[in-house]
């Protein structure tokens, strides 16, 4: 697709997304799933900054997500601070945590980086479970109820959450595209391909990786607040969990297409409804069947299209180009 067609397609998709709630029950299940699609799309796009542009397969992004959820919620409970401000505080802490984990792991590659980050996420989960004095431990935290208040990020209807998640997805995607086309994006691609060559032609590879990790950590932590406000309740095993968060966001980006702007969006559009459908239709039949079916479909996708679903579009493009 050419640039104008791409922009037109994006505008059309955005318009459709803006109109969608008109046709849905405002408290219903469908709009909640749609909200989760956007939220997880935004999370996967945050991950994409490190996982896609630098090709560092983080399996520990739940650490930043949980830090965001806990920071804004604890500040709301104990200090009455608006979650909007709490989200910024969470972003700062998420960025600090990302810097902290990036420094010792940045020289690791491939599986070693994935394992180190996975361990970091798990450590955060254990800490959140054990440090009950601060986090409430395994019982989890409930977000205090406030009657419909934009200032306190608290709504009866799902519709505001829907639009906030949509805005988050657009914003994170815009940041991703901006980074990709900036000097940082070029440097990240150089680092991804050959660290020594990048250094020798003047790329500060350590700083490049650190900056990407921090941006990714900040964005991921901010989505944690969105999740907390949408869900009203969370515990360490959900927000710091490897399977529900870390691996899921990596999977969404990989299935959709790592390193592309559209990948995490496509991935979320496929995976979140697929999970919901598997749960809805199959979990009542045989225990574990939903997970089994879901897993089979994912394996099939990766086998058929290893570069992600976004690559299907590119393949068609190439064919039409070759034909003309």
């Amino acid at each position: 697709m050419t640039r104008p067609t791409k922009l037109a397609a994006a505008a059309l998709a955005l318009l459709a997304a803006l109109c969608l709630p008109l046709g849905l029950d405002h408290q219903g299940y469908a709009i909640r799933v749609a909200t989760l699609v956007f939220l997880f799309g935004a999370m996967a796009q945050s991950w994409n900054v490190v996982g896609g542009l630098a090709n560092q397969m983080s399996l520990g992004h739940a650490a930043f997500f949980g830090i965001g959820a806990y920071t804004s919620t604890l500040l709301l409970i104990h200090a009455g601070l608006s979650p909007w401000l709490g989200m910024l505080a969470g972003g700062v802490l998420g960025g600090l945590a990302a810097a902290l984990i990036s420094l010792p792991t940045m020289r690791l590659s491939g599986h070693y980086f994935a394992l180190a980050t996975l361990a970091f996420g798990e450590v955060m989960r254990v800490v959140a479970n054990s440090w009950a004095g601060l986090t409430g431990g395994p019982v989890g935290l409930s977000v205090p109820f406030a009657p419909d208040s934009l200032a306190l990020f608290n709504f009866k209807s799902t519709v505001p959450h829907y639009y906030i998640a949509l805005a988050a997805l657009c914003l994170v995607t815009a940041i991703f595209v901006w980074i990709r086309n900036s000097a940082l994006g070029y440097r990240l691609r150089a680092v991804r391909e050959n660290v020594d060559a990048a250094e020798v032609v003047g790329v500060d590879t350590a700083r490049t990786k650190l900056v990407a990790a921090v941006i990714s950590g900040v964005l991921m932590a901010m989505t944690g607040t969105l999740y907390a406000q949408l869900n009203f309740f969370f515990d360490p095993d959900t927000v710091f969990g490897a399977a529900p968060i870390s691996i899921r966001v990596a999977l969404i980006a990989i299935v959709g297409g790592v390193g592309t702007a559209i990948g995490p969006i496509v991935g979320a559009l496929v995976i979140i409804p697929l999970e919901e459908a598997a749960n809805l239709f199959l979990s009542s039949q045989v225990a574990g069947l939903s997970g089994f079916a879901y897993g089979l479909i994912l394996i099939a996708v990766i086998l058929v299209q290893p570069h992600g679903l976004a690559a299907i579009g590119r393949r068609f493009q190439r064919k039409s180009k070759g034909a003309s």
Binding site: A190, E199, V200, G202
Partner: protein, 242 residues
């Protein structure tokens, strides 16, 4: 009085486990010259290049670029001060286009738009404008070696270390690269070249440094090196030296 050297090595040493890869290497590179670095396989030529740009941390000795100590500096800082190299085995960013490969070098001193324009200039200098949009991973070896040169030029070095750019080139291509090197010299760059084709090295270089087993064997003009008994012995074996 002679001008101070642009690059000065004093007692550069590097050990890999039990192997003394570089032992007490001392020589100067003069401003604006083309210096040839020769030696049998395993003499330490590529190791020396890597050590100079900071990819290997040297165990002892000092390296001064334009009077400034650069040993033990990170490679990107050495590049910023004006010293970079090409890679013998070619280390391009294979997924990126040729232009984007060179652009990354240009980012050292420019923003993206400026680096893109400068990258196009550098590609023109090495005669690769026609393939700017090709994927670097799809190029032939001689083309890739030239992209390496363009990418290094995009960092605007004072001293450029060129590691076997002419390997696998045919006669005409070699002549083109020789012309390119001479043009770069005319443009004010200082070049240090490693090449295996002796005739080319002898005719191209102003001076030659010979290494053997990581040690400096001889230093001088091509004519001096050609009749230096140690160099002849290192290349042909002691029994050929009369």
């Amino acid at each position: 009085m002679t001008a101070p050297p642009i690059l000065s090595l004093k007692g550069v040493s590097k050990r890999f486990g039990g192997l003394q890869a570089l032992g007490d290497v001392t020589f100067d590179v003069r401003r604006g010259e083309i210096l040839g670095l020769i030696g049998p396989n395993g003499a330490g030529k590529t190791t020396l290049f890597s050590a100079l740009v900071g990819l290997h941390r040297i165990d002892a000795g000092s390296v001064a670029l334009d009077g400034r100590e650069i040993a033990r500096m990170a490679p990107h800082r050495v590049a910023a001060l004006g010293l970079t190299k090409t890679f013998q085995n070619v280390a391009l960013f294979g997924e990126a286009s040729v232009l984007d490969n060179v652009l990354i070098g240009g980012l050292l001193r420019r923003d993206v738009a400026g680096a893109r324009a400068f990258a196009a200039e550098c590609l023109a200098r090495v005669g690769l404008s026609a393939i700017a949009e090709k994927r670097a991973g799809d190029l032939s070896f001689p083309e890739r070696a030239r992209v390496e040169v363009a990418r290094a030029l995009a960092t605007e070095p004072k001293v450029l270390l060129l590691d076997e750019v002419m390997a696998a080139l045919n006669h005409a291509e070699t002549a083109e690269i020789v012309a390119l090197f001479r043009q770069l010299q005319a443009d004010g760059l200082t070049l240090v070249v490693v090449e295996h084709h002796m005739k080319t090295v002898m005719s191209l270089c102003d001076r030659i440094v010979a290494l053997s087993f990581g040690r400096l064997l001889a230093e001088g003009t091509p004519a001096e090196i050609a009749r230096h008994p140690d160099v002849v012995a290192a290349y042909l074996g002691r029994e050929y030296v009369g």
